[in-house]
Amino acid sequence: MSDATTQQEKFPFGIASVSIGEIERRVPPGEAPPLPPNNRLAFIGKSVPRFDARAKVTGASRFTVDVKLPGMLHGRLLRSPHPNARIVSIDTSAAERHPGVRAVHVVTDIVGRAVEQVPETDPPQPNGVRLPRALYAGAPIAAVAAVTPDAAAAALALIKVEYEVLPFVVDLEEARDPNAPVVFRSAVAGSGFAGGVAAGAEVAQQGNVRGPSRIGTRGDVTKGFAEAEVTVEGEYRTQVQTHCCMETHAAVADWHADGLTVYLSTQFTAGVRNELAAAFGLPRNRVRVLVDAMGGGFGSKSGAGTYVRAAIALSRAAGAPVRVVHDRHEEQVDSGNRPATFQRLKIGAHRDGRLSAISLYTYGTAGTATGAGVGNFAQATYECSNFDSEQYDVFINAGPACAMRGPGNTPGAFALEQAVDELAEKLNLDPLALRDRIDASPVRREERRIGAERIGWSRRHTPGADTGTIRRGIGVAQSLWGANVQTNASCEVRLMRDGSVELRSSVQDIGTGIRTVLAQVVAEELGLTPQAITLRIGDTDFPAGPPSYGSRTTASITPPARNAAYKIKQKLLEVAAPKLGVAAGALDLRDGRVFVRAEPARGLSFREAAALLRTDAISAFASRSDDYGGFRRAMGDAALAQNDLGGVQFAQVAVDTETGIIRVERVVAVQDCGRPINPEQIESQVQGGVLMGLSYALYEDRILDRPTGHVLNADLEHYKIAGPRETPEIDVVVLENYQGESATDAYGIAEPANIATAPAIANAVYNAIGVRLRQLPMTPAAVLAALGRAPYGG
């Protein structure tokens, strides 16, 4: 990027706790000038209180489940009681006649699961419609809308479905058997991104096994292992984790004369709008998707699921708005999950620690979806010129997986970070010293240094050296995550003649605090307080913002927000200039004033300046430009920045050798996200990432019943997630890492904060008891078995 239209600018560069220098970048026209480091800014980098906190603590926030429209009907879904069944016939007539029922819909298209490339050969229904097979217990079959929830539930019971029950398989190992019942009878195309196996049609498929994908393979591992002086090899298993959003998946669909309005608990309003416009044959400008408060997604609320489409179909048929809200059971069974995996990982190294080869053989199951791959983490985290992976998806009769906080990398890190720990011990190197040799990132090096100091790494004993009933240990693990950017991300900043300012974008605040962050960015540019900025977001009638997945919201929407505010600033200064008798270039904005830079006492209030506008309002639109140093890779509407995101986490655990209970006492999480904009909100997200990782490490496990194919713990009593009692002291440190890559230089935090926790705990457990646990969750029974003590006093 060095054509005539760009200009050279100097940006702060480096890690604040090390040293900040400068870097020159070529910047496209229209960009706001380089932003100084946070210590020279008024609002960026400050913990401005969360904008919607007051509404949330008073119960005034409106979540999708709180939306009530006049005449709104209650929709419910009929779900398959069988884990694999062909629908021979379906009779909805009795349901249609039930009092209070306004519409009945038969599901013909299930989204989210893998799609067979050869159309289903099941015989069509009398009306010519082909019904999809029910591929898992809980698969949607039909839906009803009625005037009350009771009437809808009663009508569901009146739908007569004749099933031809087919053999099924819900166990990952059994499904790999060539004689196992086959989930998909023809090759499938991938759907969604639960992890890593390439979704293309070229991947081989035999029985329930699809693969291998050899993504990322490089160099010559045979040669690498031949050169290795030390090798480690281990087998690791990770379980299925469910998202457990506190607000279950929820939609209110309103099909009306002008088009379609959908209130949706979603991570991506603009994407869902586009999906629904295509699915229902409407122009995009007739489809409006809205979300105000949003009760958690973690990857599971990225698209327009079957329940959304059912709500819309019912609304269209009934001529009234229809609400469909998953109950907790539906949420746990059919709203996505993180795939279970098996990983066999082998690492070869030279005596000095340099890695000579990494080989990963892995299979996993995303249920009836693709994407159980975990190869990215082993491929990308450490320097090694020889890497080979062989990754397979295995299909089982279970609800489709989807992306979940750090997909692929979270199970991947559980294996690699333990293997690296094991390698360090074999090499007689400190685990941190080994990482200093094999990790080129100066950011992670600084994170290791800070974290080691905070956790008291120097007092770490040799593995298994602790004695007594309760044994303590310290462990470390690293996180790595690509810095995603949505280039199709836009916003508008408006200034009204009374001095009021608002930002408009369809971007949604899913609890990460982007409202507050955007207000900070706009306020900084316009010399106002963040509280003076009105945020109008979560509505596709505004310019299309980014999705809130892949840790990309802040990176994608804060640069255009600043650039749009900068354009407004320039226009305002031009309007004020004649009044102050100077050129616009001689003016600046700060503390709610327009003033002459050389003579700060001379100026106008922001409001007085705005009153000089010729029109009632002015508006500026901006979209995400490319990172100044260029992207590593661009993929359609999205791109990957040059520098990865990551972090280093340290865990201190206490293991009770009599009960097998692992208690995490303390976690130190040192993370980076470019320029931090709101430290307190970042701390909240990092704590959340650590807790979800801790919960994954010790408690969570979706259990499928082999005889019936049903989920046995589809609730929040038997599916245990970490609560207040399991919460350790969490010490969060966030680096200020300046790279001069965009108008804000800010990136994401949510996923990198989740990836390192489980392996850090596993390494700490090893340090405590001297035995390695290679399977998740690390239950008391697993600890006792590892110690050679049968549970229950045996």
Binding site: R50, A53, G59, C244, G723, T727
Partner: protein, 179 residues
Amino acid sequence: MLATSLAASAAVAEENAPLSIGPGAVAISLRVNGVVRTAEVPPHTTLAEALRGSLNLTGTKIGCDRGACSACTVWLDDIPVASCMVLAIDIGDRAVTTIEGLSRGDTLHPVQTAFIAHDAVQCGFCTPGMVMSCAALIARNPNPSLDDVKTAISGHLCRCGTYPHVFAATLAAAKAAKS
């Protein structure tokens, strides 16, 4: 004699009571946030559903609908309860306090103020229930320890993982309430 007449009157009362109610809607009255409200609800309606539905008090959230997550916590006579585990027709004359009734006009409860100051909120779905339990804690124990706070919210689930900030906020609120 006395015992006999009590037993007799109980028998009469039982005889006069309807044998069953429902399945259709029945009229109930609830004293919510100091105001008596009436509603017609099917007898199996939980307090959580009645509050969110007929009474339009949607601040109370339903996360699991079976007492496992505590998102629906309200006070019954100042005691925090999971409102999804109580039938609306069983409330009688007990006072119901919901998140909407915790502040005094524009003046927030110290726990609400502290939740804002300590960023004890992420997606916010579990927040009303958390606030109700933490406010009840400092009402019955003005000097809670960290352990007391953990006990008070031990039944509450938050998938965003705001617990550390909830602990800090509640301890700060207790301090603020005393000064």
